[in-house]
């Protein structure tokens, strides 16, 4: 099981260590640093690194490496999932997960880690339970604690810990009862030179924010549940009911949680909301290159495309660019060769474009790689796959809650090859 955890910042310093079994010397991280040095980019450090006596399994989030040390055969996914859970918990507790935030709350962090893992076995990882055991730090509580000498550690056994609904605490009370659901879809796509789709798929999630008194039992049904054939559920969802009736029935956790995530695969037809016309050329023997890019909406279901951001890694030979955007602003970093263009909203009447020239190193051969264009965008009030919630009902409690559903489409890894 998980032996120890080291937190390493981007400059390669270990700023926290926690051992759940015997103490492992931090020199074990030298193997990690070696790998880090070899990797060209921070994200290229391999997640599993063997050392003579241990294995190091690491994740990189918020520019902090979380390095777990294991000694015996442990499923790596188990470790990685756990590490991500640690990061999520920190974020949940401190608002951000940064080195400063962790150092500021080092005792809470330590208490949390101790509570999450016992001898390497996960103990309590649900945020609802943890919050009952260890209260999140707030300014008010810190002040009160210093005055009264009370603690921020729960004295009682968390209620959810052993019930059949471990994700929900009991005795929840709200004056305003509300349940909000966000359907968020990200489209991952690769578009080739000629504009045809090589692969496109949708990763969707339904995130919920449920603040309901007591033990509500919710059901959520869809207009078109057939879209959801590849889904992962929060443990609260009753799987049998879904299998039989295609209805989500669940007792929700308290607060924010991800109800389900789904995947609409490349085999279904996925609508592509934007198109790109591009003309990026280098001529042999010339120190100038031509750059032209135009964006336009494609299948957007009548909604506007906003927050568009175009970025591209230009070839190493490009020294500088001289481009004119019809709207928004663009920047080019001559060191990293990263071009980024903050377009904003796409106006279908007046398509945004970016035109101009690139200067190349004099005398150098023409770059042979073609830059890939990365596009980010948002479409409000629509889910690209067409998924629609039919209705939300609540049983088990008498009050009438506020309900709300929001839809949004975003670009995930949306890439256009040139």
């Amino acid at each position: 099981m998980i032996h120890s955890l080291f937190l390493v910042n981007s400059s390669g310093d270990i700023f926290l260590e926690k051992h759940w079994k015997s103490v492992v010397s931090r020199s074990v991280c030298d193997y990690f640093f070696e790998a880090q040095e070899r990797a060209s980019e921070p994200e290229n450090v391999p997640p599993v690194i063997p050392t003579p006596h241990h294995y190091l399994i690491s994740v990189l989030r918020h520019r902090i490496y979380f390095v777990a040390v294991i000694q015996s055969e442990v499923p790596p996914l188990f470790v990685i999932e756990f590490l991500h859970r640690v990061v999520d918990t920190f974020q949940d507790y401190f608002g951000v997960c940064t080195e400063a935030a962790i150092k500021d709350n080092v005792v809470v962090v330590y208490e949390l880690l101790e509570e999450m893992l016992d001898n390497g076995f996960p103990l309590a990882t649900e945020s609802n339970i943890l919050k009952e055991l260890i209260k999140p730090p707030t300014i008010l509580r810190t002040v009160v604690n210093t005055i009264t000498g009370s603690t921020n550690v729960g004295e009682q056994l968390p209620t959810g810990q052993l019930s059949v609904v471990p994700w929900r605490r009991t005795g929840v009370k709200y004056t305003n009862n509300e349940a909000y659901f966000d359907v968020v879809e990200e489209i991952d796509a690769i578009i080739d030179k000629s504009g045809s789709t090589i692969t496109a798929e949708i990763q969707g999630v339904i995130d919920a924010c449920v603040k309901l008194t007591g033990m509500p039992d919710l059901t959520l049904s869809f207009m078109n549940p057939r879209l959801l054939d590849d889904v992962s559920f929060h443990p609260c969802v009753r799987f049998k009911r879904w299998e039989a009736e295609r209805i989500l029935s669940f007792i929700p956790p308290d607060g924010n949680f991800r109800l389900l995530s789904y995947h609409v695969s490349s085999q279904n037809l996925v609508a592509i909301p934007v198109y790109v016309k591009h003309n990026i050329t280098f001529r042999e023997g010339s120190s100038q290159g031509h750059f032209e890019l135009t964006l336009g909406p494609k299948q957007t279901m009548g909604k506007g495309v906003e927050a568009v951001l175009v970025s591209s890694q230009l070839p190493r030979g490009v020294l500088n660019t001289n481009l004119n955007p019809t709207q928004g602003t663009y920047t080019f970093d001559p060191v990293t060769k990263l071009l980024s263009w903050d377009v904003g909203k796409i106006n279908p009447q007046k398509l945004p474009s970016l035109k101009g020239s690139m200067s190349l190193q004099a005398g150098a051969t023409k770059p042979d790689e073609n830059p890939t264009i990365n596009i980010q965008f948002k479409i409000q009030q629509s889910a690209l796959s067409g998924l629609k919630v039919n209705r939300l009902d609540m049983y088990g409690e008498k009050y009438k809650p506020f309900k709300g559903i929001k839809y949004m489409t975003k670009a995930g890894k949306f890439q256009v090859r040139t």
């Binding site: 990797a39 756990f82 001898n119 990763q203 389900l260 695969s265």
Partner: protein, 950 residues
């Protein structure tokens, strides 16, 4: 006000200051002090000196303070064992606290204090907590047993905690069950043979019930535990699968992958024509695809596992090619894995798409990735014949880019394409030759030289090209040197008139000026070959090469099966068996897929399946250049006489052929026709010479009934041992005569040798080595001839053999080429071993499995033989055969004819099923053999005959 204040202390007397604060009367000050101590601890500062002061704070009602003190204790108790005793009383008291949280906390912390003296005190509280009324305490106590076991295993066993833990599997609370399973699994890891997790249908049912209700982590433990179970039949297997499939929709990817493992394993037992089998296959694809949309670290582990899954069951993901397309900002480790899987999934249907992608990748920035993409194009050409042409033209396009590393990779793969499709794409050679000067990597240079040598007759200036390489011969790497030597010899054989000087030059460079034994020996062989018999040389060097197989990097099937049982583990990430690398797991049990099809069989194994029809040695070398020392195997004897045993890991793929031929050549080079010495060709089946007494089977009919038919494995009957034959005649071996036989004794294969010195001088320094052979036989130790062997002395030696040596198919299958060295010379002989000595003791198949397997093996693989003149009745025959590990599974009598069904398992996991017909009064038996590797049937039949007639 944040915790960072705990780090700011005055430089002077930090510890001293803390000490004062810890002993303060004010509660609040104490707590702050402990927090400071903990903060120092988190950054690795040594604050162990404060141990007594911190422990004094332990007696408190304040839970936070208590927890902090416990945290401190766990870290430092080991370094202060005597002081730690001070804490015991508080622990024992806390274990009786009315608050379950405190009881659990106490037992949990106590287990983390790794001090022997404390563990004694832990036993009583732990026993109570294991039976606590509160499930939270019980589940914590379950983990504590595992902790204690880690510190003092004997104590845990003596105190009977293991039994209590087993009882907890039937606990009413699913969380307790999950933790008990987790604890037992961890303990079982260090006790591979203790039957701790005794799984039976009842306990499986309990686990499946708990599976639905426990936490995600608990589900992982339970699923991993389920994967160790072997269902009794396909129905049970199906019902478990049905209850596990909902886990595929879990949000936690580790749960999903563990569920995939269980399903992949149990699927093995389901009949393929079952509807449910197809449904299950369909259900497996979406969750695997979903894993690829997770964080890159998860993707990486998922991809390594998918790599195994597509090798085992390509049908699951065959339509999902697109999800493996590489995004330019994927981390490099994800890119490389995706590429690997793309090639595995490439087929005629999707090859156009794949090629277009690969070409795109070949223009990316990352050098490693580009190289692999180019290589992938070559592999596509070899895998999908229809695409070969397109692949070659794509590669030529890439060569035109003149990017140095792209060109080099392209040339390496084009060489393989030439091997696969001879005389088809030679028109591109001219383009390749243009790039000769830009090649600076050994592999690319070697590939180019191979191409020039192979097609020397079509390249006008081949001699000039090769000569240009020869100038810097000694600066080249071994790989290039060997290749150059062979290429020039080929050139000479093709154009003898113009190149005589060149060949002289290279031979002298290789033999006289080189200190590399491989190179020198190959040089000598060519030299002698050319000088004694140029025609034979031509036959050898220019022989037709065996075609290279589609995929050289497939994981060997037995390993693949084992890895499938370990999906989701580190083993699956590294594609190595768990025993190979994880420290602390002493003697991990090898897991096997359950046998519906008798699956441990090596039919698809590349080293068994590919028959090498007359191959030339350099062919193999050039395909797998890293194994440039095929020759070395036999010849390096003169270099290192004693280090003959280290079992080399079986390399995958291509090293077949080669040696057969070389062996023959060698023999004739050495002036003897030992290769086919008639004396031992018929090793067994020969006259009933001296037989060990143990062999006399109870022939009397009635006796046999007393023995459970094929039941007791340890029956006091020895295996059949053929009489000794002369393997090496004295006149051919400068006075050394070797005769011998093979035996299997108590599960160990032994080669029994009699060495006789018929020369006038003393012989010393004996050593032995085997050539690669069909079943990987290799000496398990050195040849134990301790005293010098004087003239006319004889010594009997028995040499234990292992079956983990390198594998190469031999003809006949049971042929073994041996080299023996002494102070005089090295001698070679070959002999044949009875295949019965490879029959392992656990070769008894379950009846049902036997039936299913029998049906599953196609009838093409069945062969029939007659055994003449055998006067045993069926019981006696069965008993006799059992002595040689041929197990009778069932007997049926039809119309006065006894049908005996038998199973045999070979040391490499191949199963042979047999049906023996015995008719009363008829001395002729009929035997049908079925096996996935039908080549072995003939040998097995010979064994039957030998065993039954002796």
């Amino acid at each position: 006000m944040t915790d960072s204040k705990y780090f700011t202390t005055t430089k002077k007397g930090e510890i001293f200051e803390l000490k004062a604060e810890l002993n303060s009367d004010k509660k609040e000050k104490k707590k702050e002090a402990v927090k400071k101590v903990i903060a120092s601890m988190t950054v690795g500062k040594d604050v162990s000196a404060l141990f007594p002061d911190v422990v004094n704070c332990m007696q408190t009602d304040n839970l936070e303070l208590k927890k902090l003190v416990y945290l401190y204790l766990m870290n430092y108790a080991k370094s202060q064992p005597d002081m730690a005793i001070m804490a015991v009383n508080t622990f024992v008291k806390d274990c009786e606290d009315p608050n379950p949280l405190i009881r659990a906390l106490a037992v949990r912390t106590m287990g983390c204090i790794r001090v022997d003296k404390i563990t004694e005190y832990l036993c009583e509280p732990l026993r109570k907590c294991l039976k606590d009324e509160d499930p939270y305490v019980r589940k914590t106590a379950a983990v504590c047993v595992a902790k204690l076991h880690d510190i003092n295993a004997q104590l845990v066993e003596d105190q009977g905690f293991l039994d209590t833990l087993k009882d907890l599997i039937s606990d009413s609370n699913p969380m307790v069950v999950a933790n008990a399973v987790a604890a037992l699994s961890e303990i079982a890891e260090s006790h591979p043979n203790s039957n701790l997790l005794d799984l039976n249908p009842q306990s499986i049912n309990k686990l499946l019930t708990a599976l639905n209700e426990c936490t995600e982590w608990g589900q992982i433990f339970i699923l991993d535990c389920l994967a160790n179970y072997t269902p009794r039949d396909d129905r049970e297997s199906q019902s478990i699968c049905e209850r596990v499939t909902p886990r595929l929709s879990h949000a936690n990817s580790a749960v999903v992958l563990s569920a995939v493992k269980v399903l992949m394993k149990f699927m093995e037992m389901l009949p393929k024509d079952l509807d449910y089998y197809g449904t299950l296959l369909k259900k497996l694809a979406p969750p695997l695809v979903t894993l690829l949309s997770a964080e890159p670290e998860l993707q990486y582990v998922a991809l390594r596992n998918i790599n195994l899954i597509v090798q085992k069951r390509p049908e699951i993901l065959k339509h999902e090619m697109k999800v493996f397309f590489v995004k330019y900002n994927d981390p490099i480790y994800v890119k490389l894995e995706k590429l690997d899987i793309m090639i595995r999934l490439a087929s005629q249907a999707n090859i156009a798409q794949v090629l277009a992608e690969l070409k795109e990748y070949a223009t990316e920035v990352d050098v490693d990735f580009v190289r692999k993409a180019v290589r992938a194009i070559g592999r596509c050409a070899i895998k999908v014949e229809q695409s070969a042409e397109r692949c070659v033209s794509t590669l030529l396009d890439l060569i035109q880019t003149k990017v140095n590393y792209v060109v080099q990779e392209a040339i390496v793969v084009i060489k393989d394409i030439f091997r696969k499709y001879p005389n088809k794409y030679e028109s591109v050679i001219a383009t390749l030759c243009e790039n000769l000067d830009s090649l600076d990597e050994p592999e690319a240079r070697a590939a180019m030289i191979w191409i020039v040598g192979e097609y020397a007759e079509r390249i006008d200036n081949a001699d000039e090209l090769l000569e240009s390489f020869l100038e810097g011969f000694h600066d080249e790497s071994t790989q290039v040197q060997l290749q150059l030597l062979t290429a020039i010899v080929k050139l000479f054989l093709k154009k003898p008139t113009e190149t005589q000087e060149l060949v002289q030059q290279v031979l002298s460079l290789a033999t006289q000026d080189s200190d590399n034994p491989d190179l020198r020996d190959r040089g000598y062989i060519y030299w002698r070959l050319l000088s004694t018999d140029p025609v034979a040389a031509k036959e050898v060097v220019l022989a037709e090469k065996p075609l290279i197989s589609e995929e050289t990097d497939l994981i060997e099937p037995t390993l693949l099966e084992e890895l499938i049982c370990h999906i989701g583990t580190l083993a699956s990430v590294y594609h190595k068996p768990p025993s190979a690398f994880v420290e602390g797991s002493r003697g991990v049990m090898h897991k096997r897929l359950p046998a519906r099809t008798g699956s441990g069989e090596g039919t698809e194994s590349p080293d068994m399946g590919n028959t090498a029809g007359g191959s030339a040695p350099e062919a193999a070398t050039s395909i797998i250049p890293s194994q440039g020392d095929l020759l070395g195997d036999l010849l390096n004897l003169d270099m290192a006489p004693q280090t003959t045993t280290g079992p080399t890991p079986p390399t995958s793929g291509m090293q077949m052929g080669g040696m057969d031929l070389l062996g023959g050549v060698l023999d004739s080079l050495l002036g003897g026709d030992i290769g086919g010495s008639p004396a031992m060709g018929v090793g067994f089946g020969a006259a009933p010479a001296v037989m060990p007494a143990s062999l006399s089977a109870p022939v009397g009919g009635g006796l046999g009934d007393l023995f459970d038919l094929g039941g007791g494995v340890g029956m006091p009957m020895g295996a059949y041992i053929p009489p000794k034959t002369v393997w090496l005649q004295a006149m051919k071996a400068k006075g050394l005569e070797i005769s011998g036989t093979f035996a299997r004794r108590a599960g160990v294969i032994q080669m029994e040798l009699v060495l006789t010195n018929k020369a006038m001088s003393i012989m010393t320094d004996f050593a032995i080595q085997f050539n690669r052979n069909s079943f990987g036989l290799a000496p398990a130790g050195p040849l134990q001839v301790l005293t010098p062997l004087g003239p006319n002395q004889t010594i009997e030696v028995s040499l234990p053999l292992s079956t983990v040596g390198p594998v190469m198919k031999m003809d006949p299958l049971n042929n073994l080429q041996v080299a023996v060295k002494n102070n005089i010379d090295v001698f070679y002989f070959s002999c044949q071993y009875p295949i019965s000595m490879l029959f392992v003791e656990d070769g008894k198949m379950e009846r049902q499995v036997f039936l299913a397997t029998w049906k599953d093996i196609p009838s093409d693989n069945e062969s029939q033989f007659q055994i003449q003149d055998c006067h045993l009745n069926s019981e006696a025959a069965s008993n006799k055969l059992q002595g040689s590990n041929i197990f009778t599974i069932a007997k049926r009598t039809v119309e006065g004819q006894d049908m005996l069904y038998m199973s045999i398992k070979l040391s490499n996991g191949i199963w042979v099923l047999a049906e023996l017909k015995v008719q009363a009064g008829n001395p002729n038996y009929t035997i049908s053999l079925k096996c996935r590797a039908p080549e072995v049937s003939q040998c097995v039949f010979q064994c039957y005959e030998a065993v039954l007639k002796n």
